[in-house]
């Protein structure tokens, strides 16, 4: 017991027909991020620094739905959100509606450290970003060809819903996959709506926990829509006992205040980390689909999900390391 531990995720809810190459690519990215986090922990960086560092990596890589590679709004633009929380004093920072900030999680950190508030959004957040001198880019930077294609499919799926024939698209085979897989997230084909939010939770050698989550949100979302990722207690939570990051159907995670729930059952029911994660996944989601990664101050790490798959990786100081999709 004790020692550092780290977990990362790239979204709960994976299309079972996802091509092997994509799965391998995802595992390589998760492994790379874990290695970066592990190095940082070995260099005695604090938990809060490590979660920010790792999530920045995930945002910068276009593979998952955060930073570059974010899902698109109904208007074809990107609106990103993120939150970060530091266990020891439960300090927190969150941002929503970002369209030019290269690393949303770092802006969330600045909100926590450099502003009198906990949560900034849209124009106000962008103004703050300018004043803080963080790296800004055009909205186009975040938009990938993959996602432009996905948006098109999403609009078609939305209008036709359960009875659809989607023409096969060359690049990712999403069309064929959509026909073969009846799996849904947010009520729509998983091949298009797979959440792929990213997150990281860490406990450092001193037993301090931290958590961070970042996302582009729901494909084809209404402009201005805020999901669970920036909401403290829903997508992200950290306290003296643990650090938690969630992913999946945003509305289900909000309704169940999922991240806070893990900590609450540990605190009030005395459950251990694994039991707490299992409990909330089994009992708090009802019809909702989501996944959770969590660490405890005792150096434990746990993942849980009721979806088909969750991109995840975890490692502990005693040498344990695992990266998985299913």
């Amino acid at each position: 017991m004790g020692g550092w531990a780290i977990a990362v995720h790239g979204g709960a809810g994976v299309d079972p027909n996802l091509p092997k190459e994509r799965q391998e690519e995802a595992k390589r990215l998760l492994t790379r991020c874990l290695d970066i986090g592990i190095s940082a922990l070995r260099s005695n960086l604090s938990a809060i620094d490590v979660v920010e560092l790792v999530v920045r990596q995930l945002e910068t890589d276009p593979l998952f739905n955060s930073g570059r590679g974010s899902a698109l709004t109904e208007n074809g633009t990107v609106e990103m959100e993120a939150s970060i929380m530091d266990g020891p004093k439960r300090r927190c920072g969150a941002v929503s509606g970002l369209s030019t900030v290269k690393n949303p999680v770092s802006l969330a950190r600045l909100v926590m450290d450099k502003s009198p508030h906990s949560y900034l959004a849209f124009l106000g957040a962008e103004e703050f970003a300018k004043k803080q001198g963080v790296e800004l880019v055009d909205n186009e930077y975040f938009i990938t060809e993959d996602n432009v294609g996905m948006l098109k499919l999403a609009k078609e799926a939305n209008s036709i819903l359960f009875d659809y024939r989607i023409p096969t698209i060359g690049t990712c085979g999403a069309g064929a996959a959509a026909m073969d897989s009846p799996l849904q997230m947010n009520g729509l084909p998983i091949s298009v709506y797979a959440p792929e939010t990213v997150g990281c939770v860490v406990v450092d050698k001193e037993g301090r926990c931290a958590a961070a989550t970042s996302t582009g949100g729901l494909m084809n979302k209404m402009t201005g829509r805020i999901g669970d990722s920036p909401l403290i207690g829903s997508g992200t939570y950290a306290c003296e006992l643990c650090g938690v990051s969630c992913t999946g159907e945003g509305e289900a995670i909000i309704r169940s205040t999922l991240a806070r729930e893990v900590a609450a059952v540990m605190e009030y029911k005395g459950l251990r980390l694994h039991e707490a994660v299992d409990f909330v996944i089994k009992n708090r989601l009802d019809e909702g689909k989501a996944g959770v990664i969590a660490v405890s101050k005792n150096g434990e790490v746990a993942c849980g999900f009721n979806t088909t798959g969750m991109f995840r990786g975890c490692a502990t100081e005693d040498g344990f390391m695992e990266v998985g999709v299913w």
Binding site: S96, Y119, F122, L123, G224, R225, G233, T257
Partner: protein, 320 residues
């Protein structure tokens, strides 16, 4: 058991020496809004309809920090937020950054009922309001002279206030009433339960005086300022940043469930754990209990139950 309802008009450092011209209109406002809620419950309206109706009244009242009478951002604008939740279905709706919608709480309800989302903000929320044909006005409609003055004072003192400071009378020295400069009118809310145990909560606010443009507080964050499930319905008020960190509204229900204690005990427990002077809340349980604890100097509040009990108060009964 019968129905029960509680409303609040904000917790904070409300000075005991609050002059009548400031106290009476707020007490009258609480009384009137309580009566609106009571009448709606007697007419067997669903608690979700009741809390929306009451909060609309509080938003329209210019002396509370919601809707008309909202405090101003650092640039002198109004950015309102609101949230509503149904305890039985756990459906919820929230909005932030609303500047032209007369009743933000009604917009929050529409987000809940007419979209597949829970939370819309800023331009997106405004566009949705227009789509839905909600009543919108010029932003100036919400701005009152009192709040222009509050902003001026806050900027002169260069701080962000939860609340209002007594407007400084040139003739009288800055007295104990504004000891630490902050006193609270922030946020309005209503919680209600009918005699079948259906619960609902609604909260609405203009936020913090002199807040940064784009600042979001606890009100629209489910589990922080607003929360309802099958056990209870909660609406919190105070220093948003502390309420978010403390997941106040959610914790009341969690503590009831996990510790098996009453609503009153759970509510007191949760308020005790946020820093002094930062929060208050109103809550009702599925069995008709009411709790209205606060760790600030005062909280504008009122409540009533079907058996005829009713109360309107600002400070602790012991502090008078």
């Amino acid at each position: 058991m019968g129905w029960a309802i509680a409303i609040h008009g904000g917790a904070g450092d409300i000075p005991l020496s609050l002059p009548p011209e400031k106290r009476l209109p707020r007490e009258a406002g609480l009384r009137r809004c309580l009566e609106v809620g009571i009448a709606a419950l007697k007419a067997r309206n669903h608690p979700l309809d009741v809390v929306e109706l009451v909060v609309r009244e509080l938003e329209n009242h210019p002396n509370f920090n919601a809707g008309k009478g909202s405090v101003l951002t650092t640039t002198g604008t109004v950015e309102m937020e609101a949230c509503i939740m149904d305890g039985k279905t756990m459906k919820c709706g929230a909005v932030s950054g609303v500047s032209t919608v007369v009743n933000a709480i009604s917009l929050a309800r529409l987000v809940m009922e007419k979209t597949s989302h829970i939370y819309l903000a800023f331009d997106g929320a405004e566009a949705f309001a227009r789509d839905q044909g909600l009543e919108t006005v010029e932003m100036s409609h919400f701005i009152t002279p009192e709040n222009i003055e509050r902003l001026k004072q806050a900027q002169e003192a260069d701080r962000v206030q939860i609340d209002y400071t007594q407007p400084i009378q040139k003739e009288t020295p800055k007295d104990a009433a504004v000891a630490d400069g902050d006193s609270q009118i922030g946020t309005v809310g209503c919680v209600a339960v009918d005699n079948e145990g259906n619960l609902a909560t609604a909260t609405s606010t203009g936020g913090l005086v002199n807040k940064m443009v784009g600042r979001i507080g606890d009100t629209p964050v489910i589990g922080a300022g607003t929360y309802a499930n099958h056990l209870c319905a909660v609406s919190a008020t105070g220093r948003g940043e502390a309420i978010i960190r403390g997941t106040v509204a959610r914790d009341v229900a969690a503590v009831m469930e996990f510790k098996g204690i009453s609503l009153k005990e759970a509510a007191a427990y949760v308020i005790d754990r946020v820093p002094p002077g930062t929060a208050g809340l109103i809550a009702v349980s599925s069995t008709g209990e009411i709790a209205m604890p606060f760790n600030t100097t005062g909280m504008f509040r009122a409540c009533a139950t079907e058996d005829g009990y009713s109360e309107i108060a600002i400070w602790d009964s012991t502090s008078k």
